[in-house]
């Protein structure tokens, strides 16, 4: 008789089975247009994809996951990459198999390692050598009781409440001077804003090749400018470190849900999202 745990595993495995007839040819001679668009669509853009409900869990961070976050952020404020480039690398450039096969934090550090090699900060041989060295030092898959220690000293972590209420633990201590400007700040000229609050605009449908922050579900859809936010680089430039490119006004655009989804049943519901000037065109 299976245990309760095994019963749950059997149930879930059955749910996940995907019977298929495999008749595809590897490297097909022709790729129809619809399939091309589906293949190249940036993997991270999932809004509106039909999908069954799932139990929403609270997951605790593993210590290594927390370290991944810190390392990736430090690489950012030291100017090695910016968040747009990071998202391009860890969410899209890795392809769908790794996007869904790896965990959230795994993708971040995979992207960081790939970035260091791609931009020639370290050679692939150096990375391979370092991975081997760390494995050796930690005795991977060998008996061990503690957690991985690195060769880098760290001060003890501070415990703070994660619940609501008062806390004074919101400030950091002394730090080096990182200068007045973020390394991801644009240096190019700021273009004048073309739209004002209340204007009707349509979102363009530019080719989805390589990367986008303009979701599939808003493309060709018409909405209303709800707010002007800030001028900044457009994602297509920032994701490739083109800091001297022109900077554009960003806008919060408000859509009627019934316009976005034909079957949407509630008249008054709305959705807002944010776009730079070049992605919008005036609607007469």
């Amino acid at each position: 008789m299976p245990s309760p745990t095994e019963t749950r595993q059997i149930f879930e495995t059955g749910t996940h089975l995907m019977p298929a007839i495999h008749k595809e040819q590897d490297w097909p001679y022709e790729v129809p247009h619809i399939r091309y668009e589906a293949y190249i669509w940036p993997t991270h853009d999932v809004g509106g994809q039909p999908c069954a409900p799932q139990i929403f869990e609270e997951k605790e961070d593993e210590e290594w996951e927390n370290n991944v976050y810190i390392t990736c952020e430090v690489l950012g404020f030291r100017g090695l990459w910016n968040a747009e480039e990071r998202r391009r690398r860890y969410a899209n450039d890795i392809g769908m198999t790794l996007y869904y096969g790896f965990s959230y934090n795994a993708r971040w550090i995979w992207g960081a390692a790939k970035m260091l090699v791609d931009k020639n900060y370290v050679s692939l041989l150096e990375l391979q050598g370092k991975i081997a060295e760390v494995r050796q030092r930690l005795g991977v898959n060998a008996e061990r009781a503690g957690h991985a220690t690195s060769s880098i000293g760290a001060r003890p972590h501070v415990k703070v409440t994660t619940n609501t209420g008062n806390t004074n633990k919101t400030r950091t201590g002394k730090r080096p001077d990182y200068g007045p400007k973020a390394p991801w700040d644009g240096t190019g000229a700021i273009q004048p804003a073309r739209f004002k609050v209340g204007d009707r605009v349509r979102v363009k449908d530019l080719p989805a090749i390589f990367y986008t922050r303009t979701q599939m579900y808003v493309r060709n859809m018409t909405g209303t400018i709800a707010a002007l936010t800030y001028p900044d680089l457009v994602p297509a430039d920032e994701a490739w470190d083109r800091y001297d490119a022109p900077q554009e006004q960003y806008y919060i655009v408000r859509f009627k849900q019934k316009d976005l989804w034909a079957e949407y049943p509630f008249e008054n519901d709305t959705l807002q999202s944010e776009y730079p000037d070049m992605w919008l065109e005036a609607v007469d």
Partner: protein, 253 residues
């Protein structure tokens, strides 16, 4: 050193004979833990960043929690002048509850930027936030996002079937209330200012802050007297957790 029993998520329900007895195993080091150490050590050896940079960011990270957001909401409920600053200058209003969005670098963090917007709920309008493209979230003021917020499931469905998803979290909205989804896809970061619930007249800021939980500021729950924690929801425990801010914790009561 005693061997540890690896906690692989199985229920070890005593000796009633159904589950296999847990085999004595040792913790395995994730391949990604190794990759993180490799990246960090190479970056330091090459002078790309310093151990001090890592320490500075780690301290900032440890001090994140939804408590600052709760405080902001409670203050806004009590003080109309503060509430107007919450909308007109959210970064200044954040400073008043101890959060400087410019920290820890002087120009903000790599992921959070310095463009905060507070979304005001009313009896006729309810906001819920999501990032369908990744996991954008106002970390400086709310701490780390919950993992379900980052999951493809939430991101896929909340923009198209938002009322159904809210119902799964236990929040049923009347049809006449406008539900507004804020898909945080660029550099603005959003926090929901919920409606102050009935039955809280004369409450102190501390009392009010207690009922403003993280989920109320994401927009998947509403504050109520007596409701001081989120859920109930299953917790996936870490095998080697980090003890710092913004992480889920089982309610103590």
């Amino acid at each position: 050193m005693a061997k540890k029993h690896k906690d692989d998520g199985h229920e070890h329900s005593g000796d009633h004979g159904h589950d296999h007895p847990a085999a004595p195993m040792v913790d395995e080091i994730s391949d990604f833990e190794i990759l993180e150490l490799a990246v960090r050590e190479l970056a330091i050896e090459k002078g790309l960043f310093t151990p001090e940079d890592h320490r500075v960011f780690s301290e900032w990270n440890d001090a994140r929690s939804p408590a600052a957001g709760s405080r902001m909401v409670a203050k806004a409920w009590i003080d109309p002048a503060y509430k107007s600053r919450v909308f007109s200058d959210p970064l200044a209003a954040s400073k008043e509850v101890g959060v400087d969005w410019a920290e820890p670098s002087g120009f903000g963090t790599t992921s959070d930027y310095m463009h905060m917007t507070v979304l005001e709920n009313t009896p006729k309008l309810h906001h819920v936030i999501v990032c369908t493209l990744c996991s954008c979230y106002p970390r400086p003021i709310l701490g780390h996002s919950p993992y379900w917020y980052r999951s493809p499931n939430y991101r896929r469905r909340i923009v198209r079937w938002p009322r159904q998803v809210l119902a799964e979290f236990g929040l049923l909205l009347p049809p006449e209330v406008e539900l507004r989804v804020e898909d945080s896809n660029a550099k603005s970061r959003f926090m929901v200012l919920p409606v102050r619930p009935a039955g809280t007249d004369g409450w102190s800021e501390d009392q009010l802050a207690e009922i403003v939980t993280r989920d109320c500021m994401i927009g998947i729950a509403m504050p109520q007297p007596g409701r001081t924690s989120d859920g109930p929801r299953p917790i996936h425990k870490a095998s080697r957790p980090v003890h710092s801010g913004g992480r889920p914790r089982e309610a103590t009561q």
